[in-house]
């Protein structure tokens, strides 16, 4: 069983490796200096040749001078060597200290996880786990707009999708519900589903059922062509859907669509039973859902409670790969507590086992207590300040857009001490971001030269050099969804002001600002959580850059008609090429190349990844984590025997 935190530790960039590298770089530099001194020796030989033609006295004097010079040089060399050795020793000592610290942390982590592992045998398989959620779906049909929002309380439990995420991008995976392939000429996309899988009502999962499933989303199903699915836009790439054999379906593509696996079997595409829907209708289904997920629906009191029972005929066991794992607790009950403090109070009062997604200040109430514990799971997205680099004129002042100057953008990057915000204002578990990729992305973007670490003097100097001291602008922050948004944003604002910017923050309603950003109606910088990629994912950026601020991404300043900077044009070209690339490794390389351009040109100011926080009773163990945006999945939660 994989453990998220162990995984995170393993994928983190080792500080020892960085320090060793810098020590080696120091040695290299000193070596170069020595080679330079060697060059002086060559000069000495030339001088000696000339000296033979001169009088002896002069030769003696020169010899003495040379001797003195040589001695001085030797002393200098010795000093340099000594300093170099000292530097190397210091770096080595530092590296050793860091390694010791890391070993110590790893040992502590191992001890903790070993303890949890030992306790797994004590899992109560007849338990009921009650989860207090902050949001509840208005309907339980996963394919509708309202039902799509019910991930935690309903969708994760009741429905299973064909594909799984293991690296930020949907892939066909061994042992899952099926596998997929593109036709050689890319004219069609083929899904083969596993035999012997049934829905909760006993209906088989086969080619007919998944054909019906997509036809229903597309409004082509005969039983109700008027059915409106919020997934229709995503499935718009699908041409004719034909049954190849009992378990195989082919979807025509024109043009070839690289995201076909995700946009037909991704997390929102939970499978549904054909006959049940035809017999009972959409409304009945929306109130009494049937899927083939790890838990089957029992009852629902709208806006209050959803009860589910472990599906004993689920197609997979606890050791199945990725998200396809059998549930532990016999019952899972989701209860709705829209108010966060009330959710926390319900945990305190023993009414729930898990308080779902709480803010850092509420989490602080449960930290360091024996009767509760806090679980922090990293988000797959990174908070970033998006800069409007693609407009030649500032839309507010009508003058030249200061963000076109890379020095101004870099100044904004150097100005913000993200580490201090994490340490002092947030929980300390957040990951500092250097790019749209979370810290664990491999190869780590943090390895790029010239990281924009906090350097207010440099920021001010850059701003001065660009002639932009006093540059006034407004940052739009959509509020209400992201953890502690009104806590860290004032700090970001102050840090920018400290180096010479004049920043105002517009704390905007989330829904409204979302639509304004989407319609390219926010000309000023705005904060958004971009990208999304698994920690340690080998092919991570493939998913990440779909949401990054490029033309075609939903939350971007970039528009087709914009006056692009040449660097941005190069960046955009790479993204476009990667988005259409079927070879994942090649796409990954292109994304990385684009990331380097983005980073060097400071197209945005990456801040940090905000974790999702949960408070739980000590009886709850949670070892599984998959890097999707769904957060804690109650299927994998274990409740220990009393």
């Amino acid at each position: 069983m994989s453990r998220h935190w162990t995984k995170l530790r393993r994928t983190k960039l080792s500080r020892r490796s960085l320090l060793s590298a810098s020590a080696r770089a120091g040695v290299g530099a000193a070596g170069l200096a020595l080679v330079g001194c060697g060059g002086d020796d060559d000069d000495d030989q030339q001088q000696q040749t000339v000296a033979q033609a001169q009088p002896e006295q002069q030769q003696e004097q020169q010899a003495m001078q040379q001797q003195q010079q040589q001695q001085a040089m030797q002393e200098q060399q010795a000093q340099q060597q000594q300093a170099m050795q000292q530097q190397e020793q210091q770096a080595e000592q530092q590296a050793q200290q860091v390694e010791q610290q890391e070993q110590q942390q790893q040992e502590e982590l191992d001890r903790a996880t070993a303890q949890e592992e030992a306790e797994v045998s004590e899992v109560d398989l007849d338990a009921e786990i009650i989860v207090g959620y902050g949001s509840f779906p208005p309907t339980l049909d996963i394919t509708t707009a309202g039902g799509g929002g019910g991930q935690g309380a309903s969708n994760n439990l009741h429905f299973a999708a064909l594909a799984a995420y293991n690296s930020g991008r949907v892939i066909q995976s061994e042992g899952g519900f099926g596998d997929w392939e593109f036709a050689e000429d890319l004219s069609s996309f083929i899904w083969r589903v596993k035999e012997g899988v049934t829905f909760h009502n006993g209906e088989p999962l086969n080619a007919e059922s998944i054909q019906f499933y997509w036809e229903r989303i597309l409004g082509r199903a005969e039983y109700n062509p008027d059915f409106e699915s919020s997934l229709r836009a995503r499935a718009g790439w699908m041409g004719d859907i034909s049954i190849v054999d009992e378990q195989t379906v082919s979807i025509a593509m024109d043009p070839p669509f690289v995201d076909a696996p995700e946009q037909s079997g991704g997390i929102n595409f939970g499978l549904l039973p054909k006959q049940y829907i035809i017999d009972n209708g959409d409304e009945h289904f929306a109130n009494n859902p049937i899927g083939c997920g790890a838990y089957q629906f029992m009852s629902w009191i709208p806006d209050q409670e959803i009860r589910s029972q472990r599906f004993e005929n689920f197609a997979f066991d606890h050791d199945a790969p990725f998200q396809w794992k059998a549930g532990w607790a016999k019952y899972i009950t989701g209860r709705y507590f829209p108010e966060e403090q009330a959710r926390a109070a319900a945990l305190e009062a023993g009414e729930v086992d898990i308080a779902y997604r709480i803010s850092p200040d509420v989490a602080a109430q449960f930290e360091d207590r024996d009767d509760f514990k806090v679980i922090a799971l990293p988000d797959v997205r990174v908070m970033a300040l998006e800069l409007p680099v693609n407009q030649s004129l500032d839309p507010i002042t009508g003058e030249e857009n200061p963000w076109r100057d890379v020095r101004v953008r870099q100044a904004a990057n150097y100005a913000i001490d993200a580490d201090a915000i994490i340490e002092n204002l947030l929980t300390g578990t957040e990951e500092r971001a250097y790019s749209p990729f979370p810290a664990g992305y491999d190869p780590p973007i943090g390895n790029l030269p010239g990281q924009y670490n906090y350097d207010p003097d440099k920021a001010r100097a850059l701003l001065e050099e660009a002639g932009q001291i006093g540059f006034a602008f407004t940052i739009t922050l959509p509020t209400g969804l992201w953890t502690a948004d009104r806590i860290w944003m004032p700090a970001v604002q102050q840090m920018l002001n400290d180096v010479g910017f004049q920043v105002e923050v517009d704390y905007a309603d989330f829904g409204n600002s979302l639509s304004l950003i989407r319609n390219n109606e926010v000309p000023n910088p705005f904060v958004f959580n971009q990208a999304g990629v698994s920690s340690g994912a080998p092919l991570g950026p493939a998913f990440a850059y779909r949401l990054v601020t490029t033309v075609g991404s939903p939350y971007s300043h970039a528009q087709e008609t914009d006056d692009f900077l040449p660097e941005f044009e190069a960046f955009q070209a790479l993204i476009d090429e990667a988005n259409a690339e079927f070879d994942l490794q090649r796409a990954n390389d292109l994304y990385y190349e684009a990331a380097v351009i983005s980073y060097e040109n400071a197209f945005q100011v990456p801040l940090f990844g905000l974790p999702h926080l949960y408070a739980v009773t000590p009886q709850i163990l949670y070892n599984e984590y998959y890097d999707t945006s769904t957060g804690l999945n109650a299927i994998y939660a274990q409740k220990l025997k009393a």
Binding site: P138, T139, G146, S230, G236, A286, P302, E339, A342, P554
Partner: protein, 308 residues
């Protein structure tokens, strides 16, 4: 009576019409619902198709005409998010809100009026001081905060009552107290001041001089007259309880109309917002009419005036 009632009813219909029209306009000012729920990677064509399906591409006047026709037929369309009929969505939660509002109203009457009377007849005494202090604190406390404090004390610390949710009678106690907090205090103060005013009148002294029992003087002569001013306030309070239960419903996870409207506003679910606000407007109007009618029974002078 009829001459009084008919113009009042016509006036009320006009009020409802204006409110409904304002809701129609207001709900379209808060933003485009499709933007709130369209998939992140939805194409512009797909978004337009969804707007078309919901009639959002029609001219505003056409949308307004369709909306009014729907109101007359009690057909408000389907909720954008749940895709269930909006009327069903709201009406299925109505009873929970009415239940909570009535419980709070009973508390207001049961606590506010007697305590107000007691404070008035024992003016300056310790019970009067305590009652006034209670009123001051209750009115100063925001109800979401009062709710959380009550949850902390009675559910978390003492474990006597559940924190939230709708279940048995015990689930109703904390939200009802929270919702009634302000109203209880205001009722107490109004009753007290009304009683003090009435108690200083000559006819009260006359009644006392006639040797009537103190209880009879207080209940039949003083309280009945003091209530006249209170009735208007109680009427408005009852209407406000229904409309103002949003915060309490959110804090206590009470599945009523208030919370539905709250969520609908954030999701820009027009049909639900329109039904919810329409119901509240109608509720206000009905309560106002009932208050007007109650004057006829409480004050013979009004009854005589209207009969004439």
């Amino acid at each position: 009576m009829a001459a009084h009632l008919i113009p009042r009813l016509l006036q009320s219909i006009a009020v409802v019409f204006v409110v409904v029209s304002l809701v129609f306009v207001g709900s379209r000012l808060i933003g485009d619902p499709i933007e709130a729920y369209a998939a992140r990677n939805a194409t512009e064509e797909a978004i337009e198709a969804q707007r078309d399906r919901l009639g959002l591409l029609d001219p505003m006047i056409v949308q307004y005409g369709n909306f009014l026709w729907g109101v007359l037929n009690l057909d408000f369309g389907d909720s954008i998010f749940s895709e269930q009929p909006a009327w069903d969505e709201v009406s299925s939660r109505m009873w929970a809100t009415v239940q909570l509002s009535l419980a709070a109203f009973v508390l207001i009457l049961a606590v506010g009026v007697p305590v107000g009377v007691l404070a008035a007849i024992r003016r300056g005494s310790i019970p009067d001081l305590i009652a006034r202090l209670f009123a001051l604190v209750s009115q100063a406390m925001p109800n979401f905060w009062l709710g959380l404090v009550l949850i902390f004390i009675f559910a978390v610390q003492l474990g006597w009552l559940p924190t939230s949710g709708k279940g048995g009678f015990e689930n109703l106690i904390l939200p009802a107290i929270t919702l009634a907090g302000f109203g209880m205090a205001a009722t107490m103060r109004l009753t007290r001041s009304g009683m003090l005013e009435v108690l200083s009148n000559d006819y009260i002294r006359t009644a006392q001089a006639k040797g009537l029992a103190q209880r009879t003087v207080i209940v039949r002569h003083a309280l009945r007259n003091a209530l006249l001013g209170l009735v208007t306030f109680l009427g408005i309070t009852l209407a406000q309880l229904l409309a103002g239960s949003i915060i309490v419903e959110v804090v206590f996870a009470w599945p009523g109309v208030g919370r539905l409207i709250f969520r609908s506003i954030s999701l820009r679910d027009f049909p639900l917002i329109q039904v919810g606000v329409l119901l509240i407007a109608v509720w206000f109007v009905v309560i106002n009419i009932l208050v007007d009618l109650s004057y006829n029974f409480l004050d013979p002078r009004i009854r005589v005036g209207s009969d004439a």
